[in-house]
Structures are given as structure tokens and as C-alpha cells.
């Protein structure tokens, strides 16, 4: 592999990181405020993809616009889910198994609803845009990846602004940082939780629509992305939005380069060995376990520890 190819890969990894970040951020806000490990995230991603597909097929709405439209729709849907299911969970400052299993049960329901509504075949959203690519010298980049990246990044920036400028964002961040103090100073935790769940779901739906533009999907589509979201939010320290961006880049780069980097291998003598592409799906899963075990506080935790030691 030459330098251009590495550059090509790096570019692809960064574009991938954009959509990864959008995908994981919904999970982070829900975890941060409510300490719920939201397994139904996979279901929301899947619904987002089908939402964009339906919008595109029925009303000929461009999937990018469909993804943006998913934001308010899924926001309301998320609030509804919170109102029907999530608010009955006992409050806790640490994640509970009950919440995890509840969301898992809801994921199964969503998945089955997906099967009933759309069948089990793989679907894909195809517009002229999704098949074409731009050529820059030797590097060719799918146009859809560029568009998706831009959409994801714009949305993340908007989220950052919401988090830092609005009363809702402030109360959310207050709840993340110190739930007790937040409640004492009058943050309505129930209401904030409902809005947060809506926001998390909105982002999941949005990211699902974007993913639907990149990959083909079926009702079981969310699971690998669910695990990737975990890796990202754990890398990012579980509760911070900027951490998510960092985690997304790390995961995307590792995944993309996993088959392109020669690994030194010792068998009688030193030699180099490439990870076969069929093993590539192991990377996020192995990374997940590794990250959880080695640095449960994420990359930031690792840095903090270093600083403390210094």
C-alpha cells in the first residue's frame, strides 16, 4: 500500500466517524442524564432507516431531508416511549439491569414490528446520489458519504449549541454532572428526562436514516451499530458529547485500518500478516470488551489518570 491509499483510508475513516458520532450521541445523552443503557437504540436506528425509506418511496423526499425530518418525529416518539415505559423505572444514579432489560424487551418489540411492517428482506435507499462518487486524483469518495458526513457534523454542532445555550441544555448538563445539586436548585428532573429521552431518540432516528443511506438494512439492522455505539460512548467517557466525537474517530480509524495495517507475527521468524477482511467485524466487538475492561472511564479517564500521576 502506498501513501495515497493510506490517505484514502484515512479520509474514509473520518467520513465514517461523522456518522458514527451522530449514531452514538443519542445513546450518550440518555445514559448521561438517566443512567439507562438504551438497548432499544438499535431499534430506533432501524426505524430511522425505514422512516427515510418510506419518506423517499412514498413522498419522494430526499433521504437527507428525510433524516432531518426524522429529528422532530423521533423526538416526539421518544417522549412517548418515555411517557409509556421509561418513567416507571425506579430512579437510580447507577445503571440498573432492570432498565437495560426493559429497553431490550422494547427492542424486541420494535424489531418484530419492523418485521410485520416491512418484512425481512434487505432494503436500501437508492438515489442517483447514493451510487456516484467524486474523484480527487487517485482517491474516489462516495458522494453520499460526504453528504452524510456534513449532515452529521451540522447536527452535532446544533446539538452542542442546544446543550450550551438553552435552559434545557443547561438543566441536562446539570443533571449529568451532579443530579443532587441540580434537583436542589430546581431542575425538573422528570421533565428533563422526558426531553432527554426524546432528544436521544431523535438523534438515533436521524443517525438511522443516515446509516440507511450508506448500508442496506433489515429489521435486525441496528445490532452491530448498537455495539459500535457502546464502544464509542465508553471510549468517550460515557457522558460527554465531545467525548463521543473522539470515540467515533478512534473506532472508525481502527476499523478502517484494521485490515490495512500489517501486524507483526512471530512463527519461527518475524513476518507480517494482514487481518483478513472476514475478521474485520471482530474489531469493534473486541475493542468493546477491551475498552470496558482496561479503561472503563474512557480515553478521557486515561488522560486524567496520566495527569494525576504527573
Amino acid at each position: 500500500m502506498d501513501a495515497v491509499e493510506y490517505l484514502d483510508l484515512l479520509l474514509k475513516a473520518l467520513l465514517l466517524a461523522g456518522v458514527y458520532a451522530a449514531m452514538a450521541v443519542g445513546m450518550t445523552v440518555i445514559y448521561g442524564v438517566m443512567k439507562i443503557v438504551n438497548l432499544a437504540h438499535a431499534g430506533f436506528l432501524m426505524l430511522g432507516a425505514y422512516f427515510a425509506l418510506e419518506m423517499f418511496q412514498r413522498f419522494h423526499i430526499d433521504p437527507i431531508l428525510g433524516a432531518v425530518m426524522a429529528l422532530p418525529v423521533f423526538f416526539l416518539f421518544g417522549m412517548l416511549v418515555h411517557w409509556i415505559l421509561v418513567r416507571w423505572l425506579p430512579k437510580s444514579d447507577t445503571p440498573t439491569l432492570a432498565s437495560l432489560l426493559l429497553m431490550f424487551g422494547f427492542l424486541l418489540v420494535l424489531q418484530n414490528v419492523g418485521y410485520l411492517l416491512w418484512g425481512t428482506e434487505d432494503q436500501s435507499i437508492l438515489t442517483p446520489l447514493t451510487l456516484s462518487s467524486v474523484q480527487i486524483g487517485e482517491i474516489s469518495i462516495a458522494k453520499v458519504k460526504l453528504v452524510v458526513f456534513v449532515a452529521a457534523v451540522v447536527c452535532m454542532i446544533v446539538l452542542q449549541i442546544v446543550l450550551h445555550r438553552s435552559w434545557f441544555g443547561r438543566s441536562m448538563r446539570a443533571l449529568i454532572q451532579n443530579p443532587y445539586a441540580a434537583k436542589i436548585v430546581g431542575v425538573d428532573d422528570q421533565r428533563t428526562a422526558r426531553l432527554t429521552f426524546g432528544l436521544g431518540t431523535a438523534f438515533a432516528g436521524f443517525a438511522g436514516a443516515l446509516l440507511g443511506m450508506l448500508y442496506s438494512f433489515s429489521p435486525d439492522f441496528g445490532r452491530p451499530f448498537l455495539l459500535r455505539s457502546f464502544v464509542i460512548i465508553v471510549l468517550g467517557g460515557l457522558e460527554s458529547v465531545s467525548g463521543v466525537a473522539l470515540g467515533a474517530i478512534v473506532l472508525a480509524v481502527l476499523e478502517t485500518f484494521s485490515t490495512a495495517i500489517p501486524l507483526p507475527w512471530y512463527w519461527h521468524k518475524w513476518s507480517f500478516y494482514y487481518l483478513p477482511p472476514s475478521y474485520q467485524p471482530v474489531v469493534p466487538f473486541a475493542l468493546l470488551v477491551l475498552v470496558l475492561v482496561i479503561m472503563p472511564k474512557g480515553l478521557a479517564g486515561l488522560f486524567n489518570r496520566k495527569w494525576k500521576a504527573a
Partner: protein, 338 residues
């Protein structure tokens, strides 16, 4: 401390024996092949359910990763049989390899608690499945086939599965009534407090994980021998892992009878309902799970008990707490208290 057994107490003591006798004598009534097959598969699932319940129910460590042990049991049995060993030796081998794997998985992941452990187990199963899909020794994704020279005997498979369930049941009962079982229940409720009383949570979890894995491995081997063909996308599937988890949770987490009930209900749903309504099982399991988490943490067993009590209002709750705890115990999912 001996307490006189009431009528209900006697039922609890006798019930397993009646069930066992019924299952052993059933073939004498010349049931249909399909019923034997159904009971076989239900017994296999119930064995895994009982196994999972030891770790997830008693010790409170919810794992999505039991497909690993099921699959390893299947493959080990198949490879040993291929090498010319008896299938029964294969089952033991499957259990041993599954136990070994449980240590390898448990050593790093048991440092994690609650949901972090859960997520780690999801990662482990997915990774193992991908690796097994690409491993040449086992034929990769093409799967593995067991060829036996003997003619196929449904009853032999049936009795093997019944024996496995009986083993799992006895192991569960013995552990539930032992000091180890007590320690596991303590760990489930408060790991640190248990450690302060001298229980070593880490090694306790490792051991119960191993026992659970061993039982699941045996079940995997028994399943594989009858299926005669299986591949990683089936025995190592995420779906297999969640099936094993759903059974005891639906039946009544933390209780031996709950795990049995869950296994039986699951077997029936998978084998009978799904034949006619292929696209509803996830909905059923999902809604059951939601209902159980929000309304009835003790699962179907808790519901049965509730119905039972509806007719016998006068019955006191803590008449015999020890027996109640073990058999019917209010296990509940951690974090949910009424």
C-alpha cells in the same frame, strides 16, 4: 431447624419426582414422534435455562453470552465424536471446554459490574461468532456435520436430554440450598457487603459461571448430536444467547422452578407457535419482558403464585421463608423493589 411441611410443602417435594417419572414413562404410551422431539428440544432449552439461572438468577450477573458455551459444547462434542469417542464422552468434553472458556471470559469481565458486564458479554458473543465463522478447523461458516453409524434413535436422544435436565435441576437445587447458594444470593444483592462478610465475590462468580457454562455446554452437545448439522451462525448466534437469557427471566428469575417454567414455555412457543405464526415470537418475548420488568419481576412463576394466592387469601407470606426463598423466592431483577 425442622419445620413440618404443609400440603404446599409436600407438593414442592414430590413434584419433581412426579414430573421425572412421567417423563421417563411417557415413551411407553407410544406418543407421536413430534411430541418426543418437542420434549427433547424443550429439555435442552430448559437445561440452558437452569444453567443461566445459576449465574444470572442466583448470582445476579446477567449475561448475553451463553451462546458461546452452547456453541462450544456443540462443536466439542462433534469434534470428539468425529475422533471416534462416545457421544457421552463428547458431552463431558463439551462441558469441560465450555467451563474453560467461562474462565477465560470471566477473568476480565467479572471486574465489571451490572450493565457493563452485560455489554461486555454481548461483545464477547459477537466476536466469538465471527471468529468461529472463519475458523478452518471447524469448517467455518459452512458448519459441521456429525455422522453416526448407528440408526437414529429418537428415544436415546430424548432420555439424554431428560438426564441433562435432571442434572441441571439437581445441581441448581443443591446449590440453592447450600452455603454457596447463600453467598451467591448475597453477591446478587450487594457485592461489597458480601465481601465484608468473607465471601469472595470474584471467585464465587467465576465458579458459578463455570458451572452454568458446563451445563450449557452439555445442552449444546446434546442439541448438536441430534441436529447432526449446525453452524456458527446458528449455535453461536446472538439470538441463541438471548433465548437462553429470556427463558429464566420470563419464567421467574432467580428461582429454580421459574427457570424450568421459562424453558418449557419457550420450547412450546418456539416449536409450536412459531410454526404457525412465524413472525410473532419476538413480539411475545419483548412484551413479556416489558411486563415482567415493570409489573411482575418474578415472571410467570410470580404470576402463577399470585393467581394461586388469589384463591387462598389467608395464606401467610413468610410461613416458611427458607423453602419459599429457594423454590419460589422473590428473586426479582435488581433495582426493582416493591
Amino acid at each position: 431447624m425442622k419445620r413440618p411441611l404443609g400440603a404446599a410443602g409436600w407438593i414442592k417435594v414430590i413434584l419433581p419426582w412426579i414430573l421425572l417419572a412421567g417423563l421417563l414413562l411417557l415413551p411407553a404410551t407410544h406418543p407421536s414422534d413430534n411430541l418426543i422431539r418437542l420434549l427433547f428440544i424443550t429439555a435442552v432449552w430448559t437445561t440452558t435455562s437452569l444453567g443461566w439461572n445459576l449465574l444470572g438468577g442466583m448470582a445476579g450477573q446477567v449475561s448475553f453470552g451463553f451462546a458461546v458455551f452452547f456453541g462450544l459444547g456443540a462443536y466439542t462434542t462433534a469434534l470428539l465424536m468425529h475422533a471416534g469417542h462416545s457421544p457421552y464422552f463428547g458431552f463431558v468434553g463439551g462441558a469441560a471446554i465450555a467451563m474453560l472458556a467461562s474462565f477465560l471470559i470471566g477473568l476480565p469481565t467479572f471486574r465489571l459490574r451490572g450493565p457493563y458486564f452485560v455489554i461486555a458479554t454481548i461483545g464477547v458473543t459477537e466476536a466469538v461468532r465471527v471468529i468461529m465463522n472463519n475458523l478452518d478447523v471447524t469448517g467455518g461458516a459452512s458448519g459441521y456435520r456429525i455422522t453416526e453409524d448407528k440408526p437414529f434413535s429418537p428415544l436415546e436422544h430424548y432420555y439424554t436430554a431428560i438426564a441433562a435436565v435432571a442434572l441441571a435441576f439437581v445441581v441448581s437445587m443443591v446449590i440453592a440450598g447450600s452455603k454457596f447458594g447463600l453467598a451467591l444470593r448475597a453477591i446478587k444483592q450487594d457485592e461489597d457487603a458480601a465481601a465484608d462478610l468473607g465471601v469472595n465475590p470474584f471467585t464465587s462468580k467465576l465458579w458459578i459461571h463455570a458451572i452454568a457454562a458446563g451445563l450449557t455446554g452439555i445442552a449444546g452437545g446434546i442439541y448438536a448430536r441430534r441436529a447432526a448439522f449446525f453452524y456458527p451462525g446458528d449455535v453461536f448466534a446472538f439470538q441463541t444467547g438471548i433465548s437462553i437469557l429470556l427463558m429464566p427471566v420470563i419464567g421467574g428469575i432467580g428461582t429454580v422452578w421459574g427457570a424450568v417454567l421459562g424453558g418449557v414455555v419457550f420450547g412450546m412457543v418456539e416449536e409450536e407457535l412459531v410454526v404457525h405464526f412465524p413472525n410473532l415470537h419476538l413480539l411475545i418475548y419483548g412484551s413479556l419482558l416489558i411486563v415482567i420488568i415493570l409489573l411482575e419481576p418474578d415472571g410467570l412463576l410470580g404470576l402463577l403464585r399470585r393467581l394461586f394466592r388469589l384463591f387462598r387469601r389467608k395464606r401467610e407470606d413468610s410461613g416458611s421463608p427458607d423453602a419459599d426463598q429457594i423454590l419460589w423466592g422473590r428473586g426479582g431483577v435488581e433495582g426493582r423493589k416493591f
